[in-house]
Amino acid sequence: MTAAAPPALLEGAVVFTDIVGFTEYTALQGDEQALALLAVQDGFVADSLPADGRVVKEIGDGLMLWLPDACAALLTGLLLSQRFEEWSDEAMIPLGLRVGMNYGQFMRRGDDLVGHCVNVASRIVNVAGPGEVLVSETVVGRVNDQLEGVLFDELGPVVMKGVPEPVRLFRAHR
């Protein structure tokens, strides 16, 4: 057995998405419609994700994305949310996309990403309501007013399961 290569340290934004109501939608509409819905989401991601970002993995109806730049990550999250809202409205399908993101360092394990920053990002999306984009304080700090027209409303320090210290969260919107 050869020694494994040392894990690569990465930095960037980790974005989690979740389609609120997907399980109920699948139960009512069937598996084919559920697959069609995921294909719609895939299309939005293909259109929105910059060339240097990537889909790390799919988690059921959710996605984990990685982007090296916080501004690009935030714009991607907002665009995904907006596209999904527009589609939901037009298709008269009562589903909503929620997005959570964090910025920091983490390790690469194969195609996956592992680390505290990733875990926090996965918790952040659980705090978001449908149609919302929530970001950590570190994302806000990295964006640092570089995005004109993007506003942040602070939710305050949020205590999350397994995260020792409260994390200041912000609702990003245009």
């Binding site: 009562p94 705090v127 939710l155």
Partner: protein
């Protein structure tokens, strides 16, 4: 932690931050100018040390390196936004501890809690509460953002924007203006809406009583929706359900807009 009540000067402070991993938080807003911590008060000596900058940890940045429970108290000017007067309460390592305090009426609050209930008696300014499993109960506030994963949310009155989110808990609002509420499986009940309402539910039922002064938009996957409108009003109702026939007992008009979309839930629009 001290068992003695503690009074703190609030000069220049308009907002308090409280975080707790466990234990209930009860705040009473009343006619006073200081902050009285009746129960769960920190050791006064630690507060003085922190105020003098001697305690390690940067509370204003959301971090603290003291062993739990941690308390900090720092005076800032009102314009320093969310870091105005900060209380950091972290009791996870020593089990639950309840915090009871009294503050001035119309004060701003930001509260983060993991499992404790949050009860706010009296009238507040801007209030933001996030809890994982605790119940949130607010008598009255100017503006609200309340989030609970499994706990229920109750609001008596909100004069401005009211944003509420829960996964499985019930949401009840007495009276509010512009209101956004979302839930996965919990029931949402908005008793008196004086502005617009935007409500999303997956399987929880939705009941809204609107004064007809703003757009009512509801979307749900399988929850039932009932919207009551003022007697004699003629809403522009756009109701859509994939599996059931929506019912509107009001004449169609342009008084205000109602848009409801559901996949399988029952939809009823009725006069008060």
């Amino acid at each position: 932690m001290s068992d003695q009540a503690l009074t703190l000067d609030l000069t220049g402070i308009t907002q308090l931050n409280v975080t707790t991993s466990s234990g209930n938080v009860t705040v009473i807003a009343e006619d006073r100018t200081d902050l009285l911590i009746e129960s769960g008060a920190p050791d006064p000596e630690k507060i003085e040390r922190y105020a003098a900058g001697e305690m390690s940890g940067a509370m204003g940045e959301g971090h603290a390196s003291e062993s739990s429970p941690k308390w900090g108290w720092r005076h800032h000017h009102a314009e320093s936004h969310a870091e105005d007067g900060l209380i950091h309460f972290h009791s996870a390592k020593r089990g639950s501890a309840n915090l009871v305090m009294r503050c001035p009426t119309n004060f701003g609050l930001i509260i983060g809690s993991a499992s404790g209930d949050v009860g706010l008696e009296g009238t507040y300014g801007k209030v933001k509460v996030t809890t994982a499993s605790g119940r949130i109960d607010v008598d009255a506030a100017r503006e609200l953002d309340l989030r609970s994963v499994s706990g229920s949310i109750r609001v008596g009155r909100c004069e401005g924007t009211c944003r509420l989110s829960t996964v499985s808990g019930k949401t009840e609002v007495g009276s509010s203006e512009d209101t956004e509420a979302s839930s996965i499986s919990g029931k949402i009940q908005l008793t008196q809406i004086g502005g617009g309402a935007k409500v999303r539910s997956v399987s929880g039922s939705v009941e809204i009583n609107t004064e007809g002064k703003g757009k009512v938009a509801v979307q749900t996957v399988s929850g039932s929706v009932r919207v009551e409108v003022p007697e004699g009003s003629k809403p522009d109702a756009n109701l859509s359900s994939m599996t059931s026939r929506p019912s509107c007992e009001c004449p169609k008009g342009n008084d205000f807009e109602i848009k409801i979309k559901s996949m399988s839930g029952k939809i009823d629009v009725v006069p008060h």
